[in-house]
């Protein structure tokens, strides 16, 4: 696509909410789901859950995160050792790759993501603190905290504000107007899954502006530089130094590290896409959230997020993002507490007649995949076809 073409035919809906929202809708909206009084009471009930949890934090929680960190570091060291052992005994290579992949998943999800959210700041341990943590990922912590903690968690699912909706390259909501580019939706999606850590790393630099303006603003260039300063260390570690240490067996070690990173990429992509894109998850426009109260902010977090049901291991390996609803309501409460908070939130939803989107990994991911394919094609409804 040439630059001039890009300018004239860019998918505006990526940046601006579609006008569809101006039309009165028959479906329940953010406004009509709860009366002002109910929204207030709903918010206060959630505030109470938050306070209750905060007040009960203690030694056992601190022991939990430290144990996770120990396990993760053990898996990291053990995994790399096994990959080397795989030079002589191939089954060890497989075990090593799985261990290293798991270490990266734990580090990025249950530890890094949650520590950077400030979930463990209450311990006042400078070594496990949102202001100091750097994670095992090509994306630098400061950029992650901006796109994720600020943009995504404050503006969850608000089109044009939360750039996690489609990550600037996908059409994940039918409020995003269709454009021929989106015929590539499934392919772009697959590429994002495979190179997820790079997608995350490039996110704060807003690379999609290349398509819209043909150039990068100075802040984005600076961010790109900052990203590369971090990413090159990660590349050097996983793809140069550890393989080089194996001498003539450079390639099997390199392959092991590539697969471990791939495992982490695919898994974290899947969990994260199940958080906001399954059927039923709602997106919003800026107009809808004008003068949003705390109660209605909670409501938006609930309506925009989806849980995944599963066993304990699944929850830990997802960084407890399987409790995406609880995480979005209380992004800075320790992740090990989401499991006990979930039934309280579910009961509250029942009380107020609100949906609580929860399902198995297969169900949630299946519906995400359907959306990816369905939204690749233009909508049949004429009302939407005229947009953009």
């Amino acid at each position: 696509m040439s630059r001039s073409q890009a300018r004239s035919t860019l998918p505006k809906a990526l940046r601006k909410p579609a006008r569809a929202s101006r039309k009165p809708s028959t479906a329940a909206t953010l406004r009509t789901r709860l009366s002002d009084a109910d929204a207030k009471a709903f918010g206060e009930a959630l505030d109470a859950i938050r306070e209750q949890t905060l007040a009960s934090l203690g030694e056992a929680d601190a022991a939990y995160i430290r144990r996770m960190i120990r396990i993760q570091r053990g898996l990291d060291v053990g995994g790399r050792a096994l990959i080397y052992a795989g030079i002589f005994a191939p089954p060890a290579w497989i075990a090593g790759v799985l261990a290293l992949g798991s270490a990266k998943i734990l580090e990025n999800m249950e530890i890094g993501h949650n520590v950077m959210h400030g979930q463990w700041d209450w311990m006042r341990d400078p070594a496990i603190h949102s202001s100091t943590w750097e994670w095992d990922n090509t994306c630098p912590a400061d950029q992650w905290k901006n796109t994720h903690n600020v943009e995504h968690h404050t503006w969850t699912n608000v089109l044009g504000k939360d750039r996690d909706v489609g990550y600037g390259i996908l059409r994940m909501s039918d409020k995003q107007a269709w454009h021929p580019y989106y015929l590539l939706n499934p392919i772009a999606n697959a590429l994002l899954a495979v190179f997820f850590q790079w997608g995350v790393a490039l996110h704060d630099s807003e690379m999609d502006q290349l398509r819209t303006t043909g150039t990068l603003k100075p802040e984005s260039r600076a961010k790109l530089k900052g990203m590369w300063r971090k990413a090159r260390k990660q590349v050097l570690k996983d793809y140069v130094l550890f393989p080089a240490l194996a001498g003539p067996f450079f390639l099997p070690v390199l392959a092991g590290n590539i697969v471990a990173n791939l495992i982490r990429n695919l898994w974290s992509y899947m969990i994260i896409f199940c958080g906001h894109f399954p059927d039923g998850a709602e997106t919003f426009t800026e107009a809808e959230i004008a003068n949003e109260t705390r109660g209605r902010w909670y409501l938006r977090q609930l309506l925009g997020s989806c849980d995944i049901e599963g066993g304990k291991l699944m929850h830990v390996m997802s960084g407890n993002l399987s409790f995406q609803i609880e995480h979005h309501l209380f992004p800075d409460l320790p992740s090990n507490r989401y499991a006990e908070i979930a039934p309280k939130v579910r009961a509250l939803c029942q009380q107020y007649g609100l949906p609580y989107n929860s399902g198995s990994l297969t169900k949630q991911f299946g519906s995400v995949m359907k959306t990816v394919f369905r939204l690749a094609l233009p909508d049949r409804m004429p009302r939407l076809a005229t947009l953009g």
Binding site: R50, A62, A127, K145, N146, N149, T154, Q234, L236
Partner: protein, 374 residues
């Protein structure tokens, strides 16, 4: 023994420096080698300075001496200095300063602090009740200017009360260990004989060194001692009439130190008095306080704040531009160190008053006068 310990730690610090500089650092990025090694031995390889409690000695009903073996990176203190001890209570890190009570000449490479449980003092109470052999603690390097001059023949006077004896004990033990005891008078106050920390050892020192005179004064019980009751100029005149000519060191409660300051100033010999003051780590709880003067310690600016306006907005109105994100307490992007005073979390009403604590300024307002690092 002491030499071998030092050599040991010198070797291990050389080794870990080497590890860091070599290929290991890029291989463990974004962590550092210490993050892995401390899982094996936190004392030797940990990221920060650590110590292990080797012994817990009971001094009085509410005072314990903790003998601590410092890990790699510790440098011997000077008698009179203090150390910051960090421990986790209910999962939360708390740090407090304690004077070291042992002499730097101690042969086993350990040092000791002596802690008296203070009413409402979370850390001191925890240390007195829960400290156990084998417990790991966080340490800061020894610091402080409350030390004896390295070369001096001046006669000395020590005035202490309660746990204020601890830095002086380190000095006396050091003088004794070096056999360098000079002409010295100690007047130490404790409520009753049973509350007097180090009583036996002080008496023994006085017996061993005729040039050291020790007066243990009870403020509550009247014994057969020459002195009783709280400190007064009369005490001073009675047992140490030449006090104005001595180099004086004092450590104890605020009220005592204020009295001494006034007396020495009035006599025109203020420069002969050195006091050790511990700033309270906790601001006095004033649950009712709303708003106050906000001091921004780095920029030196001042502002008045009401109890409802988040400190982030107060700072912005004062012309500062603190880093921040969501402005609603969820992203933790605006955390700033609380230097002194109290702030109130506007969401929960929770009061933060621990100096050194990081607080979210987008959802915290002044609860009384407050100083934050901006």
């Amino acid at each position: 023994m002491a030499i071998s310990t030092q050599a040991d730690s010198a070797t291990s610090s050389r080794i870990s420096r080497l590890l860091s500089r070599s290929l290991v650092k890029p291989m463990v990025t974004p962590l550092v080698p210490g993050d892995f090694l401390e899982l094996v031995n936190p004392l030797r390889f940990g990221r920060g300075l650590r110590g292990r409690i080797e012994q817990v000695l009971s001094e009085t009903a509410d005072a314990r001496t903790l003998v601590i073996r410092p890990g790699r990176g510790w440098r011997a203190h000077r008698a009179g200095q203090f150390v910051s001890i960090g421990i986790d209570i209910k999962g939360v890190r708390h740090s407090r300063c304690y004077s070291i009570s042992s002499a730097p000449e101690r042969a086993d490479g350990c040092f000791s602090i002596t802690v008296k449980a203070v009413d409402g003092g979370r850390v001191s109470t925890h240390l007195v009740r829960e400290a156990q052999t084998g417990m790991l603690i966080h340490l800061s390097p020894a610091e402080g200017e409350f030390v004896l001059p390295s070369v001096s023949a001046d006669p000395l006077l020590f005035v202490t009360a309660g746990s204020g004896i601890t830095p002086i004990m380190s000095m006396l033990r050091s003088l004794a260990a070096r056999d360098a005891m000079t002409d010295a008078v100690l007047i130490h106050y404790a409520p009753t004989p049973a509350d007097c920390i180090f009583a036996d050892e002080l008496r023994a020192l006085a017996e061993r060194f005729p040039q050291l005179r020790v007066h243990l004064v009870n403020t509550r019980a009247t014994g057969d001692a020459a002195l009783s009751g709280h400190f007064s100029t009369a005490h001073l005149e009675q047992v140490c009439s030449d006090w104005q000519t001595r180099q004086a060191y004092a450590c104890g409660p605020r009220a005592l130190l204020a009295t001494l300051d006034a007396i020495w100033s009035q006599a025109g010999v203020a420069e002969r008095l050195q006091v050790e003051r511990f700033q309270a780590a906790l601001a006095p709880a004033n649950a009712g306080a709303v708003g106050g003067e906000v001091r921004f310690s780095r920029s030196g600016r001042l502002a008045q704040a009401d109890g409802a306006k988040p400190l982030l907005e107060v700072a912005e109105a004062a012309g500062l531009a603190p880093a921040h994100g969501c402005r609603m307490g969820i992203c933790h992007g605006c955390m700033v160190t609380l230097k002194s005073g109290c702030v109130r979390d506007l969401r929960s009403g929770h009061i933060h008053r621990d100096s050194g604590e990081l607080v979210q300024i987008c959802v915290c307002a002044a609860a009384g006068d407050v100083e934050i690092e901006l």
